[in-house]
Structures are given as C-alpha cells and as structure tokens.
Subunit: 266 residues, 2 copies
DNA sequence: TAGATTGTTAATCGATTAACAATC
DNA sequence: TAGATTGTTAATCGATTAACAATC
C-alpha cells in the first residue's frame, strides 16, 4: 500500500474561508427576525465562486459517523478500508462515502482504499477535534445531570468545564466532579475557561433567556435540549435535540402502519 | 371568522396508504444489507402515482414544532393564527408553513388564517398522538434514568410503560415510579403492555443486540440514543439521537470561525 | 370594495445515487 | 496485465422559497 495522496489540487482547507457558511443552525429562528430553516448562513459572504471546498452540511453531519467507524476499525489494527466497507459500517451507501470524503481532499488510493490512520487524522482535523472545546451545561436537572456524566462527550474530546443552574439550592452540589455554580457567574466562567460551547438543558420557559446569556458571555455554539424554539444572532451556531419531537415522528410512522398497513410491507 | 374548510378534494388521509413510505429511519443501515441513508422506505411499495397525499419526511419532522407553537397560542385563547405568525414562532418561513399544512388538507381560510383549535386537532390526528403509545426504555443508566423522568414525554402523550436493564443489580430499583425489570422479561412486557416504541439507552456495544430483542418482541419503532449505528429490518422505524455527534458538528462550525473568521461576519 | 392571507405553482437549490473513466 | 477501487460526472430526487392568483 502506498501513501495516500495529499490534496495538491485543492488548497482551501478546512473549507474555504469564503464558504457561504452553513452553520450549525438546525432549524431555529434567528434573532434578526428573518425566518430561516435548516442551515442558514452564519453570514452573508463572498461569492460562491471563491468556495471550491465548502463542505455541505449533510456531509459535516456524517463525518462524525465515519470517524466512529474508523476508530473501531483502527482498534482492530486494520490499515486500509474501502468506501464499501466504511459505508456498511456507517449505514450509508458507498457512493455517498466517496463523495463525502472527496470534499476533504483526494485521500484515497484507487484499487486500495483509504488509509485508516490518515483518514482519522484528516476527519479529526476538519471537525476541529484536535482542539480543546470546553463545554458549559446550563440547567442541572435530570437531563443536565445525565449529560454531565455522559461518557460519550469526554471520550470524543469534549470537556465539560462547568455546570450552571439558576436555582441557588443546587449551587455547590457536586455533579460529575464539578461544583454547580450559579447562572450569575456565567460571564466569569465563560471568560475564565474560554467556553466555546453551551448546552441548554433548562425547562422550555428559560431556554431563550439562557441562550441570550450564553451569547452575551461570548459563547458562539449552542446545543439546545429544551423543547423550545430559540433564536440566536448571526454568527452563533445553534443545534437542537428535541427528545419528544423524535417520539412524535416515530408516532407518525407507527400510526401509518396501523392505519395503512400496506405501507409497511415489501 | 368562518369554519375552516374540510379537505374535500383530498381524501387520502393521513397520508395515502400507498405512500412510498418514508419511515422514521434517520440514517442508519438496515438489516437487509442494502446501504441506506436518511429516510428509507419502510418498504418498496406501490406507484407514486397512487400517492396524492404522502407527507414529506421534512414536513413530518416540523409538525411537532407547529404543534408546540399552537399549544402555546391556544393557551393564550387566541382563535386564529396566520402562517406568518406561526412561522415566526416555529422558526421557519411562512411559505414553508403553508406548504407543510397544505399536505394535511386545506385547513386555512384565506384572508383569515388557520383556526388554532382545528389545526391542533388535525396535527394531533396526523401524528397519531390521539392514541396511547406505551414506551419501554432499555438501559437504565444515567441517560435512561433522565429519560424515564423526562416530563416532556408524558406532557406530549407518551407513556413510559416499562424500564428494562440487563444488569440484575438494577432490577427492582424504582425509577420514576416504575420498577426496573430484567431484559429477559422484554417479550412478556412487550406483549402485555403492547409496547409500540422502544428507547435504546444502553452503551454502544449492546445497542444492536437490544434493538434485535426489541424487534423480536414486536416493537416496530425504535429511538436510539446509543452512539452506534444499528440496523433494523424493513418495516421497523428507526431514529437516532447522538449527543456527541451534535457537539462534533458544532465543533466544525466553531473551528470554521476560528480558522476562517470571515465566514462568521455579516 | 379593499385588505389580508391562503394554497399552489414553478424556479431554484442542495443532496443522493448510479455509473464509469481513471488509476493503483 | 487483471482486478479493485477511487473520484467525479450527470441524472435524479426531494426540499425550499418567492411569487401570485384565488378568495375570504
């Protein structure tokens, strides 16, 4: 096997700076009042022509899945992997894997496949996982508690740096080796620890207020678990995880099977 | 204000039985070995021409968001709502709201808007939320614990009917008023309680096995929280929530701002 | 009638996929 | 060389959106 090629013909890394900036916004409104949905530009910027290597939003969302598969394969000391095999592991089709990986550069070798270690490094780099991203969790209820203890975060390089709650009765309580601090301290905490990512795990009613405080404290990426639509200014990435919405979507297809069982057969 | 029109011209409800059956599959592989991604058909079925009212997957995913906004509006005793206002609340644009709602039928009144109560009933019906959907949670660790106590589920009509774990040390423990039962009892539990939806909250290594057990027990909708790709047979809906993948996506856009700050400006 | 707002059309955009030339 | 597999093209599909006729 030979060295995977570098990406000679395509310098724009990790995605050209002038990319029409898909951000992490997952379907929320924005503060500017412009109705948006799905990915919105973090900003209006340069010509798409200056964008030879913009990575599509759908691809970005799959890279972590490839990463996970590659880690598994690397553990087994496997040196190369084909798009076919990686696709199978990631639950997608091979054409998609090749297209997705082609946005990172020409990192495969025809007739051989992709070098597992090399690809791991590249995906980690593109996703920014070589950096330390301190995370603050706001709202230490049941869910915040579980998130603070979630092994998957630290295992993937995200460090829970602080826990915050608005309830003074919770302040001082130690969860996952961290003391809960009061919401009022958020600006201090964010500055001291250079918090990059805020997780909102509050009730719906407080979610927007907390998001505003996070933004005011300089946090530019927010993951919202509260069952509420929140809006953030341009330049702030927002993603959401809504547990009950997922169940409602399942309910739709479940009832489709009940009402229209034909739809559930081959 | 007048009565919203019924949907005279479009009988196929809640989505024609012969719909090419987008299911709740959110990007996992399937058991048949066919690589899939995003929505896959629950089954290959009839001609798309027999599908006058199939509801697009993207629309189904937004209906719960509209529902939430409508509940809020109904609480304030507001009788009608325009697509413009509903869009603002849901964080999407008005054209999308109108298009989405048009898949349910012609439920609005030109010049007036949508009757809030009527629309609530319709969306609830289409999503199958008028039925009782008993849910089983498998894996009562930190996350399973939090999910069992999550108020959002019961508030939206999902009843946690049983908790299951593979660890006998946990069996008998009472969480959220329910005793934890052993995984071996899953078939009995599923049959007795007519479990429709299974939530997988186990470690990654057990996720596929647990999914297989759920399917064997007759559960046809699965929500996977384990950081693993799992596959299910055709006819079973699968959605996933991957907490650390969400953070990795945020990391990408965060680092884009660091590496290419131009992309984060207006 | 005048103003408001829906429902639908059609243009556009982004994502998916099969196919295959390039090439190891 | 023969077989394997990538990287890319182009067709297709689904989702988004602006615009506006219909109509309350």
């Amino acid at each position: 096997m030979q060295d995977p090629k570098r990406d000679e013909a395509s310098p724009g890394w990790p995605a050209d700076a002038s990319a029409p900036a898909a951000n992490g916004n997952a379907g929320y409104g924005n503060r500017s009042g412009v109705p948006i949905d799905g990915a919105i530009p973090t900003a209006d910027l340069g010509s798409p022509s200056r964008n030879p290597r913009r990575i599509p939003e759908a691809t970005v969302a799959r890279l972590p899945v490839y990463l996970r598969s590659l880690l598994e394969v690397a553990d087994a000391h496997i040196v190369t992997i084909s798009s076919e095999r990686l696709a199978e592991m990631a639950g997608v089709n091979a054409a998609k894997v090749r297209k997705d990986l082609s946005y990172l550069g020409s990192y495969g070798t025809r007739g051989v496949g992709y070098d597992v270690q090399f690809l791991l490094v590249q995906i980690n780099r593109v996703l920014g996982l070589t950096q330390d991203w301190p995370v603050v969790i706001v709202g230490i209820g049941n869910l915040g508690h579980a998130l603070a203890n979630y092994k998957g975060f630290s295992a993937r390089g995200f460090r829970i740096a602080a826990l915050v709650d608005a309830d003074r009765a919770k302040v001082g309580e130690v969860v996952a080796d961290l003391p809960v601090r009061h919401l009022d301290e958020l600006p201090t905490i964010a500055a001291e620890q250079t918090i990059a990512i805020g997780i909102v795990a509050t009730p719906a009613g407080s979610a927007q207020e907390v998001a505003d405080l996070l933004v005011a404290a300089g946090v530019t990426s927010i993951l919202n678990f509260a069952p509420a639509v929140i809006s953030v200014p341009r330049g702030v990435s927002l993603r959401k995880v809504d547990l009950s919405i997922e169940l409602q979507i399942l309910s739709f297809y479940q009832q489709l099977r009940v009402v229209a069982p034909r739809a559930a057969e081959a």
